[in-house]
């Protein structure tokens, strides 16, 4: 059975004068999937999200939500979307409840009962009547998340949703997202916290300088990038030798250890031994998402 595509981005571009903020990206997200969207600051993440949410006009390309095109001129499919992008947009001189009431007014589901439910869900019941201007960053994020969930959206677009939250708050949000996916909600998730992405996302895309440099399942991306760690008496000399190997990735020296990725341990050992260096210890491992992200955003692109 073919999975239902909820969000599809086709050859999307946004150029601000000479700056190519987003340069022809493609990806799609299927129903009840958590899709991670990673990239360093200024890579085009927020611009992409802005185009998906009909806030920014694409220079070219198409965004489709539930099969319908979306743009600032065609925003209606966004009624099925909940979003929290960066610092949440809130009316600072109104209370948390009044902010939710305003959102509730534009959806048939947004009655008083739903407001109380949301306040409890995001842990703000006690602060419901307090003006939002006096909220901490974490409380703002909670309210922003509540506003995004108010109308029971089918797609949730989140950009740094746990920003400013304490560890227990982050844990709560992670659990909430997993529960929502179980209920059939699709989640587009952008975060700097890569362990968070690694824990909950099914697939990820990495964007750098406006282009997608890697895309695929998290386990494929992590499994593909192995790392070899060797302990030698002369680590600097060993690093120099390893750097001569074709196809090697980044080579690093940490005390008596040298790490390299992109080639097998057999090739590394064979090359060192052939040059008179006998490793006293060899370990094989795989890079975590954070290491892969750093490598992808600082070095060459990989295809998964």
């Amino acid at each position: 059975m073919k999975s239902e595509i909820v969000l599809q981005v086709i050859e999307l571009k946004k150029h601000f004068d000479q700056v190519k903020a987003v340069d022809g990206i493609n990806f799609s997200i299927t129903k009840a999937e958590i899709f991670g969207f990673l990239g360093p600051n200024g890579s085009g993440k927020t611009t992409t999200i802005g185009m998906i949410l009909g806030l920014i006009h694409p220079t070219s390309g198409i965004v489709r939500l539930f099969g319908h095109p979306v743009s600032p001129f065609q925003p209606s499919p966004l009624r099925r979307v909940g979003s929290l992008v960066g610092a949440p947009s809130l009316v600072p001189y109104l209370s948390a409840r009044q902010n939710l009431e305003m959102i509730g007014r534009i959806y048939p589901e947004g009655d008083g009962l739903r407001i109380e439910e949301i306040l409890a869900e995001v842990g703000l019941t006690r602060f419901a009547n307090r003006k939002v201007g006096s909220f901490s960053t974490g409380m703002n994020q909670r309210l922003g998340l509540g506003m995004a969930l108010m109308h029971k959206p089918e797609l949730l677009i989140l950009d740094e949703p746990t920003n400013g939250m304490d560890p227990s708050g982050m844990h709560e949000v992670r659990n909430m997202l997993v529960k929502l996916v179980d209920q059939g909600v699709t989640i587009f998730f952008s975060s700097h916290l890569l362990h968070e992405i690694e824990q909950i996302c099914d697939r990820v895309a990495v964007i750098k300088e406006g282009k997608i440099v890697a895309q695929g399942k998290v386990e494929d991306l992590v499994g593909q990038k192995s790392i070899v760690k060797v302990r030698v008496e002369s680590p600097r000399q060993a690093a120099q030798l390893i750097r001569n190997l074709p196809g090697r990735g980044r080579v690093r020296v940490h005390g008596e250890y040298v790490t390299v990725n992109g080639i097998s341990s057999e090739v590394v050992i064979g090359h060192l031994v052939a040059n008179g260096l006998i490793p006293s210890e060899v370990t094989n491992g795989s890079l975590d998402l954070e290491a892969i992200f750093l490598e992808l955003t600082n070095q060459a692109a990989v295809e998964v």
């Binding site: 009909g54 920014i56 925003p75 966004l78 947009s89 001189y93 109104l94």
Partner: protein, 285 residues
């Protein structure tokens, strides 16, 4: 749906401290002005420094029915309310960009034209409420003055339907200035540009253009009457007539229908420009 967006926009404008402070200040100013006139008349009565005709004229401005015309003028295009409305429109519209509150609605599938129209309609309502503040304070104060000066208050002097029409006219004449400020706020996304631009036009530019047109000849002068100020003046002259007073301004006036259509055209022109700009804006952080 549009109604709910409108209610939300009203909540956002009317619950702002700026609106409440403006309403309070406006009320105090109206009270202050009327009290100052009353005290000047009283003082001159004892010192006999004022001619009887002058004194009677001033007394008329403080007592019903003439007082109503003056109170409404305080809220009309050449009174106090436009300045307060320009500040309110400029600040509330431009700050939505810096607070990113426009994103709340647009990212939820609300169309930009619907949002703009709801916003402008709410600002019209805010203008009406500011006008009502002027009316309430001015009406109550002059009612007291009328009782003190004339010994009684004759309510039959007031034609309620004409009074309501006069208020609507007064609010309507202010709207081109509000919609100009609205456009400046949308186009510049800056409170300073919007408020100073709106005030500069209302206080300075329009008068300069009208005076300049007068120097260029009769045709230009007649053309300049189609500026918001000229149209407003023509329409507000009806208020005097409706309250049983003639037009003694001596100024050239346009027919009321012409003035009404002209004002609507200015409002639609600035609203159209605002929509055109807003539709093309990127709301990036």
């Amino acid at each position: 749906m549009f109604w709910n967006i409108f209610i939300n926009q009203n909540t956002m404008i009317l619950k702002r401290r700026l609106f409440l402070v403006e309403a309070l200040l406006l009320g105090l100013l109206v009270l202050g002005i009327l009290l100052a006139i009353f005290m000047a008349v009283e003082e001159n009565q004892s010192s006999t420094g004022m001619l009887a005709d002058e004194r009677n004229m001033m007394l008329e401005t403080l007592t019903w029915p003439e007082a109503w015309n003056n109170v409404i003028r305080l809220g009309g295009w050449d009174g106090l309310a436009p300045f307060f409305l320009i500040i309110l429109v400029g600040a509330t519209t431009a700050q939505e960009y810096s607070w990113r509150t426009l994103q709340i609605w647009l990212s939820r599938g609300i169309s930009r034209p619907a949002l703009m129209l709801a916003k402008l309609a709410s600002l019209l309502l805010a203008g009406l409420l500011l006008m009502l503040t002027v009316l309430m304070i001015g009406g109550l104060t002059t009612a007291v003055f009328s009782s003190v000066i004339n010994g009684s208050l004759n309510l039959s002097q007031i034609d309620l339907s004409h009074l309501v029409l006069s208020v609507i006219r007064a609010v309507y004449t202010v709207m081109p200035y509000a919609s100009l400020t609205f456009f400046l706020a949308v186009a510049s996304r800056s409170t300073v540009v919007a408020v100073s631009g709106g005030l500069a036009y209302a206080l300075l530019l329009e008068n300069l253009i009208m005076s300049g047109a007068g120097l260029l000849g009769r045709e230009f002068s007649r053309l300049a009457l189609n500026l918001p100020g000229g149209l407003a003046n023509s329409l507000m002259a009806l208020n005097k007539a409706s309250l049983g007073m003639g037009n003694n301004t001596g100024m050239t006036l346009l027919p009321p229908v012409h003035a009404s259509i002209g004002i609507a055209a200015w409002i639609l022109f600035f609203l159209g420009l605002s929509l055109w700009v807003f539709q093309r804006q990127d709301l990036a952080d």
